[in-house]
């Protein structure tokens, strides 16, 4: 089996260890004999014909403004893929840009790609620190239901009413989407947007496999992944749960 990963705008949107998620997914595929090619997609470049997983990281404000228009041109294709089951992971800036809109303090509202039914507002609160959530039951993650990472954002994100979307999880430690409503991230079909870096996937192997399995199922609908020895990964996961006494 061969998977194609589209890494959106990696030269400018790869700020917070975002590369770690790509390294992780690729390794977990290759350990199971699944080959992977990672296609960087920069401004002006076309998306690969067939994409099995989209990844979109975070970046500096100037970089985000520079690519917003290009992303809107790609939005229809990404939406069609996601609505037919293609998994996607977007973190921080990538999450915000894939939403409906972003409202800065003193500039006009930036229209997002409109994939996630979310809107984000600039704020003066810097939300920084370890972030632990209980995963949305719809994910049907095996065993462990916590997801751990690190957040660093000042934008406050709010989910809009949409039957097809729900939060990625409920905040146990940290701020999450906006520091007020206890939600973190957004789940829309197999697309996940969130503020969790750290990097996210390496210490959440259940979530990494959730995404990987859905990518494989685009090729073989009945596909299930062989389990791996994730002792080290769970140790790293557990260490942060223990620090905050979350079980």
């Amino acid at each position: 089996m061969h998977l194609t990963i589209a890494h959106l705008y990696p030269s400018t949107m790869s700020t917070y260890g975002d590369q770690g998620n790509v390294i992780c997914l690729r390794q977990r595929a290759e350990w199971r004999g699944i080959t992977v090619s990672v296609e960087p997609v920069e401004i002006g470049a076309p998306l690969p014909k067939q994409v099995h997983w989209y990844f979109f990281g975070g970046g500096q404000d100037a970089a985000q403004a520079a690519l917003a228009a290009d992303l809107r041109e790609k939005a229809t294709r990404i939406r069609e893929d996601v609505e037919s089951g293609t998994p996607l992971l977007a973190i921080c800036g990538g999450y915000q840009l894939l939403g409906e809109s972003y409202s800065p303090f003193d500039a006009p509202i930036i229209q997002g790609a409109g994939l996630f039914p979310i809107r984000t507002e600039a704020s003066h609160d810097r939300m920084i620190g370890n972030l632990i959530i209980s995963a949305n039951g719809e994910l049907q993650l095996p065993k462990e239901q916590t997801i751990v990472g690190f957040e660093n954002h000042s934008g406050k994100t709010y989910l809009l009413e949409d039957a097809a979307a729900s939060p990625l999880g409920q905040v146990r430690q940290g701020n999450g989407n906006n520091g007020a409503d206890n939600t973190e991230g957004c789940l829309y079909h197999n697309a996940i947007g969130c503020y969790l870096h750290g990097s996210l996937l390496p210490k959440n192997p259940h979530l990494a496999d959730w995404l990987l399995e859905r990518a494989c199922r685009l090729i073989d609908p009945g596909f299930t992944l062989q389990p791996l020895d994730d002792t080290l990964e769970w140790q790293a996961h557990q260490a942060i749960l223990d620090r905050y006494h979350v079980s």
């Binding site: 404000d61 690190f150 390496p202 080290l232």
Partner: protein, 461 residues
Amino acid sequence: MNSFRFLLAVIAGKSAYLASRLNGGAGAALPGLVAERVYPGVLEVLSQQCTGGSIVICGTNGKTTTSRILSEALNPSHPNLVYNRSGSNLIRGHIAAFLEQSSWSGKLHADLAILETDEAVLPHLLKRLSTVRAIVLHNLFRDQLDRYGEVDTIARKWLEALKANLKPETILLINADDPSLAFIARELRHPHTVFYGLDDSDQGSKQPTSTLDAILSPISGKELEYSTYYLSHLGDYKDSSSDFRRPELAVAAQKIAVSESGFSFELHTSQQSLTLSSSLPGLYNLYNALAASACFLELSQDTAALTKAVKNNSGAFGRFEKIQIDNKELVLCLIKNPVGATEVMRTLSTSQVPYGIALLANDNFADGQDVSWYWDAQFELLKDGKAFFCGGTRAEDMAVRLKYAGITLPIVVEPDIAPLFDRIISQTPTQKVYVLTTYTAAMALQKLLSDRGYKQPYWQE
């Protein structure tokens, strides 16, 4: 000025220094903290007495080594330098350095200061110093985003601070190879600006060597074109959509040779050329020597002192510092951010003898609490290690990083540094062990080593 409060502040600060030293501490920050609490203007009054002014050295990586080389080169002509040698580079560390060279009555016995300065502190320091002789802006890499914010944010704050505080007589030294610094210089149009950089395309690469930060042109917003990358985004670049390009070098390093055992290069200015060599490893240390040299040559023509200082510099603590323990040689390397860590690993991977690897990773405030950067550094470079140990508060995260870097040997994970240290010594099959540590883990290890009598406390080196 309130001279009574000032005097009280000096006495309180110097007493705190003595008390700290008696208790086995460095006295690198506390005296400054105490003195400033007693009299908030203490830095201004002390630094005003420094007739030759202050040299401010700032950048993400290489501040400590650059300052150290410069101080050693200036030492023969200025034996009483004010210098925050321990690397305590917040305002409190600067005050402590001034206090160290002042009498109990607050009179300063030095005519020149070298102040290594934290990136976030630079704007505050510039506001408070009345005489700044020179400012070295060395590089801006992604570092501890949780503390400093993004590279663009820091660059903007530096530019604002310099616009408000840069005096005509101050010498501005800029690493021309860093586009965000070249942009600051372009905006300032300061008459006395000295650009330094590398000029040896055999050394660089046509492709980016590691994670990149500031590669969009600050003028056009388009991606910069590099003819040569030297180290991360440092290189020879131009913007094809505007006239922004790497400035012409006034001080250039040519004919460069670098390895794990040292570097040499020819330094060229319009007036002279010099050959400089050192046993400090890696290209990043060559950058540090170049910055120190460019600054030194603006102040002095004693090239013999410079050559000697570059050659004899053994490196600041935790910068490829070698420690012999029984039959093991430990090489201590600080790692703080993706670019610095990658260059350390690139350098050690050229070692001619087999080696083990220990990684001590903490996530205290001074280390940066966000450990995402482990994934932006190329730990894949460690693949030739013969044994692996992970310690510190983020031992597990580091072990996971190694696993995904393709390390298949078993990884010893033990967060507590003391027992891990014993296992490193007893279980590494090789004589040589590279110990890569974040900042507070380095402090903990230094304390352990000095408690066990393997080395002097770092501030006495």
